[in-house]
Amino acid sequence: MANLKYRFSSRLVVAILSGLFVLLFSQCTKKNRPGSAEIHLLLNRHPFTESILRFIPEYERMTGVNVSTLLLSEEEYFEKLITELSSRSSFYDLFMLGFPHLWQYAKAGWLEPLDPYIENPNLTPENWDPDDFFPELIACSRWNLEQGAGMGEGPLWALPVNEEAYVIFYRKDLFERFHVKPPSTYEEVYRAAKILSRNVDGQQIYGFGHRGVRSWSTIHPGYLTAFASWGARDFDESMHCVIDSPRGIQITDLFIRTLREGGPPGWPSYTWYEGKEGFLSGRFAMWFDANHQAAAFENPAKSRVAGKVGYLLPPAGPDGQIRSSTWVWSLAMNAASKNKDAAWRFLAWATSKDMLQRTVPYENINPTRRSVWEDPKTVEATNWDRGEYRRTAQLLLSKYARIRWTPSTYVTQAGDRWAAALQEIYEGNRTAEQALKDAAEDINQMMRK
């Protein structure tokens, strides 16, 4: 009887273990089945992705291809992406990225060059029209893998789906009420921020807002725009970090003083999410960030400042030049993908004129195709502040906005260290000169390895 019990229980254990293995292996084979009519997308939470998701069922019905998606917020998204790509997983066929990641991942061999797909008439519809993309944005997506140079050259690694440049959003009503002239220099921004940091009808207003967390993404919008307009640079021709140049120190000191004396308390805890919420709820007089946030600010259902927002080009530097930073969200293909043709077909569909046009009503403004930007429906949807939004966006795109980082695989590392230096200055622990010199030294040391 005991023997029977043992035999039964051992068989049960073997059966359970076998079942588990079968389950495990069936999942593995399902993951890597080549040529299956299924593609997997890893996406960052963004107006583009949230709008394109609405149309994916339509794509599935049209093509018979199953599209599975995983949508994550920005920090978690990039962690997941680096884990997938560095393990050479073929699971995700397409994903989103910005230029620092494009440079890192292209150099690591994780991105599929897209030119051959565009040139293949069997894969790309005739009316897809690659020349319709703004050339500046296509240039941002090409790189020849040379550290310190080569942007706009070499293979096309991704296709742009959303662009942003940086403006100063300002509360016209507050500026008028307190007789402050909209600023056209950074000194005027400082003075206006100080004047407008005040209690207005029982609510504390802060003059000037900007991102502040310890991340390269803090450097990237308004601060880098000011830094570049002042004639300062991140690296010289020999890839030596020069953020501690006299011009760099001067504008950094002014920028951080503006935040300390005219900004909200706790600036180092601000991501763009909190800053955007602050402006939406009427707590900032100025907010220096991505221009497409206008879609939220002008939406009366979400915003307490709808109809009161003005759009200012970033101020010029001492030489009268405006050098705005810019950001491009793009879709790229995993070099390890087993479904490249199917992935490309989806990519071509998602970046077609028709699809990009259809995402505009869902806040994916600043389209990357000229035809969509000029379409009467887009003009009508983005004609805020009597056309001022479109005028500034157009000028930025055509004239002032460029990627201000030197192409390299070190942007995120260098930017994180740089942002830590800004926090030190803000905290009053170090002067701008001390903090930037130490940061430059650390960045140079980082790059020697």
């Binding site: 023997n3 043992y6 035999r7 229980s9 051992s10 068989r11 254990v13 073997v14 273990l17 962690e79 680096i82 560095s86 050479r88 890192q104 991942y105 150099k107 690591a108 609510q203 504390q204 802060y206 502040g212 967390v213 310890r214 991340s215 909200p264 308390p265 706790g266 600036w267 180092p268 805890s269 601000y270 909190e274 919420e277 602050g278 709820s281 707590r283 695989t409 995120t412 590392q413 994180d416 830590a420 926090q423 030190e424 803000y426 905290e427 622990n429 980082m446 390895k449």
Partner: protein, 300 residues
């Protein structure tokens, strides 16, 4: 008959292999734990960069030497200790205090005990995000809004290096003090009543009984709570990541946060693993020492 003799000499195969089969999952789990650990230690001696997986070179102790020479490491080391020591001490004191209040039966004590475990039922990352909203630096934050009603200007709880670490310690205390309370409550309820009755007959004061009876009898629980909370506090990541990400100006950067920056954000796996290995070593030393202490206390 022959068959029976043969079976007695050679027990049937399933019976013989059963112990192996039953320990098989444990072996798999052990390998699953040891393999990444050994691999991680190996990476500390290499220049492994996530974006260059094909170019891993042995660099000996270079990562350790560089990191031990860097101010950032010692700063993170200090923050880790201040955070862990402060959080554990407050949780012990608060846990013991609340447990003493709740140990006796009075109307509503059951409801109070049930409410007490609410923070433990919320995932720490959710608690941290909730506290981030409460501690927002402007009047948008719940706490600053309340303080504003009595004329106090907004405080940048998480955005100022003077208050950020203290705020994080308090968040940790809010989440984990109930754990200490539960252990202490169980401990207090298991202490026999006779010694207290004898002491009362002799006219001992409450303070005397607390020092000479309650604390010594509760020592195993105190060591247990210290062990669990100290190890957890040294390894803390979620609360800091969700609120300050190590800022402002490195004021809340612990060893774990710095390892995340090194390995995941800057792709320098070799260096990131050094931070984690140091952290593991600290946890190992403390857990070993406290486990020994616990055994000694139990034997005594």
């Amino acid at each position: 008959m022959t068959d029976q003799v043969s079976r007695a000499k050679h027990p049937n195969p399933p019976q013989r292999s059963l112990p192996y089969l039953l320990t098989f999952p444990a072996m798999i789990a052990l390998i699953g734990i040891l393999y990444p650990f050994v691999l991680g230690v190996y990476y500390t001696f290499t220049n492994y960069t996530l974006t260059e997986p094909g170019d891993i070179q042995w660099v000996g102790l270079a990562n350790y030497v560089e990191i031990f020479k860097a101010i950032d490491f010692w700063k993170a080391f200090g923050v880790t200790f201040v955070f862990a020591a402060s959080a554990v001490m407050i949780e012990l004191a608060l846990g013991l205090g609340v447990a003493l209040l709740l140990k006796d039966a009075f109307p509503g004590v059951r409801i109070l005990r049930s409410f007490l475990i609410i923070p433990m039922m919320i995932p720490p990352i959710v608690s941290a995000l909730m506290w981030k909203v409460i501690l927002l630096p402007t009047n948008q934050g719940v706490l600053n809004h309340i303080l504003g009603l009595v004329g106090i200007r907004p405080i940048a709880w998480l955005g100022d290096s003077a208050t950020a670490l203290v705020s994080l310690i308090l968040i940790d205390v809010w989440i984990y003090s109930p754990f200490a309370v539960l252990i202490f409550l169980a401990g207090l309820q298991s202490i026999p009543k006779e010694p207290y009755e004898a002491a009362q007959v002799d006219g001992a004061s409450d303070w005397f009984m607390f020092r000479k009876l309650t604390l010594p009898l509760l020592t195993p629980c105190i060591v247990l709570v210290t062990l669990f909370r100290l190890i957890d506090s040294l390894k803390v990541f979620d609360i800091i990541y969700a609120t300050t990400k190590g800022g402002p100006a490195g004021a809340t950067t612990t060893l774990h946060i710095q390892s995340y920056f090194e390995a995941i954000r800057w792709f320098r796996m070799g260096r990131g693993m050094v931070y984690l290995f140091v952290l593991w070593f600290l946890c190992f030393i403390f857990s070993k020492a406290l486990s020994r202490l616990w055994t000694k206390v139990l034997i005594r």
